[in-house]
Symmetry: D2
Subunit: 393 residues, 4 copies
Amino acid sequence: MLSKLPKEAVINLSPGPVTAYPRVLRALSRPAYYDYDPYFLQFYENVALKAAKALRTKEPALILQCEPAPAIEAAAASMIGRNDVVLNLASGIYGKGFGYWAQRYNKEMVEIEVAYDDAITPDAVAEAFRKRPDIKVVHLVHHETPSGTINPAHAIGKIARDHDALLLVDAVSSFGGMDVHPEDCAADIFITSPGKCLGGVPGVTLIAVSDRAWRHMESNPTAPRASMLSLLDWKDAWRKEEAFPFTPSTADINGLDATLDLYMEEGPKTVWARHALTAKACRSGIQAMGLTLWPKTDAIASPTATVVRVPDAVNEAELVTAARAELGVCISGGRGELKGQLIRIGHMGPMAEPVYGVVAVTAIGHALRKLGRKVDVGAGVEAALTAIARGSV
Amino acid sequence: MLSKLPKEAVINLSPGPVTAYPRVLRALSRPAYYDYDPYFLQFYENVALKAAKALRTKEPALILQCEPAPAIEAAAASMIGRNDVVLNLASGIYGKGFGYWAQRYNKEMVEIEVAYDDAITPDAVAEAFRKRPDIKVVHLVHHETPSGTINPAHAIGKIARDHDALLLVDAVSSFGGMDVHPEDCAADIFITSPGKCLGGVPGVTLIAVSDRAWRHMESNPTAPRASMLSLLDWKDAWRKEEAFPFTPSTADINGLDATLDLYMEEGPKTVWARHALTAKACRSGIQAMGLTLWPKTDAIASPTATVVRVPDAVNEAELVTAARAELGVCISGGRGELKGQLIRIGHMGPMAEPVYGVVAVTAIGHALRKLGRKVDVGAGVEAALTAIARGSV
Amino acid sequence: MLSKLPKEAVINLSPGPVTAYPRVLRALSRPAYYDYDPYFLQFYENVALKAAKALRTKEPALILQCEPAPAIEAAAASMIGRNDVVLNLASGIYGKGFGYWAQRYNKEMVEIEVAYDDAITPDAVAEAFRKRPDIKVVHLVHHETPSGTINPAHAIGKIARDHDALLLVDAVSSFGGMDVHPEDCAADIFITSPGKCLGGVPGVTLIAVSDRAWRHMESNPTAPRASMLSLLDWKDAWRKEEAFPFTPSTADINGLDATLDLYMEEGPKTVWARHALTAKACRSGIQAMGLTLWPKTDAIASPTATVVRVPDAVNEAELVTAARAELGVCISGGRGELKGQLIRIGHMGPMAEPVYGVVAVTAIGHALRKLGRKVDVGAGVEAALTAIARGSV
Amino acid sequence: MLSKLPKEAVINLSPGPVTAYPRVLRALSRPAYYDYDPYFLQFYENVALKAAKALRTKEPALILQCEPAPAIEAAAASMIGRNDVVLNLASGIYGKGFGYWAQRYNKEMVEIEVAYDDAITPDAVAEAFRKRPDIKVVHLVHHETPSGTINPAHAIGKIARDHDALLLVDAVSSFGGMDVHPEDCAADIFITSPGKCLGGVPGVTLIAVSDRAWRHMESNPTAPRASMLSLLDWKDAWRKEEAFPFTPSTADINGLDATLDLYMEEGPKTVWARHALTAKACRSGIQAMGLTLWPKTDAIASPTATVVRVPDAVNEAELVTAARAELGVCISGGRGELKGQLIRIGHMGPMAEPVYGVVAVTAIGHALRKLGRKVDVGAGVEAALTAIARGSV
């Protein structure tokens, strides 16, 4: 009845769920505690406080007991009221997708959409506000994981704040791998995951919520309560004196605790630097093999994932399969409407190490050759190593 | 900023999250896999198939990526349509609570409520159907964890099926600890958790869904889709060829896999027997100390948790705190409107061992004495040991 | 070919290998490092320094890559030269056993032997020195694990030092559970284990060596070198600049690291207090059931293990088996010539918690009754709880 | 006092202690059992039986509670008597080193020594027997880990057996990575480690002993007993009815169990094939970069480690340090008299994957360039990938 499991990947370079740090895996195996035992109550409070320190916010972070996609749905349901005009910024699949949730709850949605290899410009956002000064909620994906592009969160955040709009930033696969924090980009809701650049596992989501956002949710009559879609339910749950709306995912909280410790102990700047250098090495190699990066410009390419256009006449699925079968290296293909067009390599958490940038180049080059393409893998590796030798980006 | 963590409990006898089996804890620390890697796709399918075997259903189990409370909300949202009359059976806090969710989605709700130390009778259900033959969905909590009472799922299930109603059974804290399975009690939706009698951790939920229930959901226009409240999204997600609606909670799936292996390897009958004997030992001791069990009759007391009335003039919170402080034994108090009235001891998973029934008696007796009550702890322990010596219940 | 494994014990109360702290178990699963990688070299040095802090010595501790019994053989081989007169103090099986090793290497051995339920007196040691002022090496077992008795290490140490003899103290199952340290008792070689009161696993041994002892070994022409029996080989191995004589047992070093952290973080005094209180509770209960402790007087009974005489007409092996079979509680019987005469309960590491003292009483009482003896288990439990209520010993 | 730990290596390619399989690491964190508990007694017996199956011997394997170097010392002490003439075959540091131990115990030692980049020939062994038909014990290192050379164990074994001599084979770093078993090469004592090709950790040693060898040891009056140097003490210790000479290293036994399961589940032939292909890839790349392999001929190069001559004017320590510092890749330098002359890459256990052969080439090429050498790393990687594309060796 059960099928035999295939061999495990040797090296997982997907853009998430990522290979977790060994210390996170060990933390996941800590004993399971009763959630109302004094130990766990204090432990949970401490994790929320540690998250705040990592996020550089004054208030403890909200921990939702699900991975980021449903957490973003919950944020949409909680933040967007029947009177709210939403500006949705769609530069990729995740940005576009948010619009469907937004429209369940809003009064009206305005959308700026650009090609999925491009980024939203602050000018376009400013223009949108000129036309519709009644925009109340802005949604932005900072890093579009399906296409590896970065949007200018800081500039857009400033514009939103100037217009007194509330900004929701999806930083799921950028926070922890580069310099972005809720208050720096004036985000009112800032969502991130332990399972990407922090090198943990999916299962819970970190959300920083501004006072303005809490007030907006509290005055939103349709904001869910007594529901898994509710952010409000969890507002004070971090306090050891308060009850949990429902049982927290204890193992995932244990894992989250370790990701935060690792991030702060190594030092954010050091962590960001190795993400950036790994990406730089990987891209140099990819380009030296004659391949094309997906993002339109280098400036908008994320340091946490490299996305590559699949060459003409190459089948994406076969390419991904060849890298996995020949060298045991796990990379990702496209999702949704991007399926077939691109491959993706994550540089996240423990895999944000330059040597893995070289491994990615090797694996992709080898796989292409397996599919009959002529590729100068040697040149790719040389270029990657040269980038590493030049050092910090 | 961070407060020092208190000392961990020595022995966790709460009714969940329970002490997990060591093998489950180790499984939680398995490597994190990319969810679309062939290894994980096959692994996930296998876990769903193992769950089906444990649940004795033909179809693989649905695995929701959240703990049971929100999963039950999702089941309500998915199953109950605007034309559905719901019969809610409320013999405790969880049963009562479901009614609030049911009313968000239904046409009308009929409720049978009994005292929270009592159980629903099949006669009352039959009578309800006589009055309202248009009842479409029946909701039953099999084991009311907050009060330790068992409802007659098999008899009620037969009545619901005879009236062609759909039955939703919350078996979160009974399945795995006693003889109850979806098809035996004609449940159309049967919900359970790895974090109770299976000795795992919260974070995911197992749901067995009948064909009738799928058809009902599929024809329900308000059943959520593209939502964390959706059961339909996950219907085929277990198949390795299908996409996941969102990223599964990989660590929790690893843990779930181990709980199912342990349960089947030990053998369900053996597992149920030690749950029952532990409960028997614990209750014999509790009663020998002059305390009163919460459930009205022995027949409705769950083999997976012992609930005890707090004696007059004793403060529940002080009692729980004394057991924890004096002997490091973690037990639970009442929730919601039962707060202050009762204490609860779980007999679940690795703690469903007779010796822990004796430990519970010892800890409660000692704590009562600490609070100034006269208690014959010796007599309690003797009674518990006598029950154990008599052997299988 | 392979036999089915029996069910694991529910609670392991043996005097070692003990139940390890969960954090130690997790540490054992840290990645395996190349022993000459800079990370491991520094890590090993740090562990040796942490051990010194716990042992309160100036020099880093020696870590032998084997459990204590062979480590003591190595100490005998290294310390005792062909010109050395050895005073062996035998108050139990381990003390007596050392004599056989001593005689392989020494010039002559003088032995003081007392009954194995008794302790060596300082007077007897002083008298020995009077008769044989040429005694060069004294060997003392601080805690005779097979019989649960403590010898007066501090007083004996003073006498040995006054006579300029070298003292070897086996504190394998006492250090970490009570107040004893190498310099306090003037030990020149002081041997202990992570697998007893420190709550770790066997596999490596900690040895504190005085400068005098090093000088003696260095001038001993028969002291083994290039051998697993050599202490000298490992003298400087803790320094990151030095080579290891052979590959260290990396997992066990990882585990040792965690035991030392746990001990120092909780605080030695706190750790000793719970060992003492657990022993007190256990003994009060044992005696209240009409059983007799093995040690002749309370004063020489170890706080880290309770040893009980097997009542007349009771079979030791049947008693141990009954506790294991009926309640899943693992205790130990006698070893060697003590076999059949006694049972042993460890109070070590995570099991040095008063509640486990009560569990021991319960399990032994229950097992005795199973074997047909009349025992007042209730009285035993009451007495144990009374001891706990009285608090710190 | 404690120094800050340097950053951990990203990828450990040393020839041992190797990166352990994740499942082995998890096994190390299984609960610690009392060694005389029925569960552990049966478990230990099962592990010895599993080892026999892997080693293809009739009798359960001996498990010594120390890593291989001291275990080999113990084998020398146990096997070699005062009347025994020993033939020591020295083709490397380990072979040579054994001679020092042999001479502690033997009557006379005959030695065949060849250059450390060469292998012993069967002819030379036959010749030695012609000259000295009284040779009783032959010692052979199958894989000289310090130099990466393989000796012809099967041919030499046949000669020894024909002359009725006893053969001791050190297969520490070859068994599990290639086709070699005790009975195939007529070894009377065959020693291997869980910490090399089996992908486990050091701490225990597996020894297969023939009946002839047991008889020889039993009749050897100087064979140690009641000693850590004794093999005889452990002869029957695997039987659950027998006592252990001293406490087994429980965590390491847990780890060993997992290494054996993994090896047999994957299938020895599959495991050997990936060791061979990884070595092939690595060497092809090394040679394509203009570097020279240490072993004189390809035929004697081990499939489990690649050893490379350090080019003129390059400092070995600087090379190893550069690979570690620049790319986080841990490789090894020379030991003893080979120090400064070579670098070593292990292909063992989980690192015996072709992609790691490429990583080794990349890291060494990059490091050489960092030290100012001109190296065509691209050509090296291309050659390694070509070898992989050609597939099974």
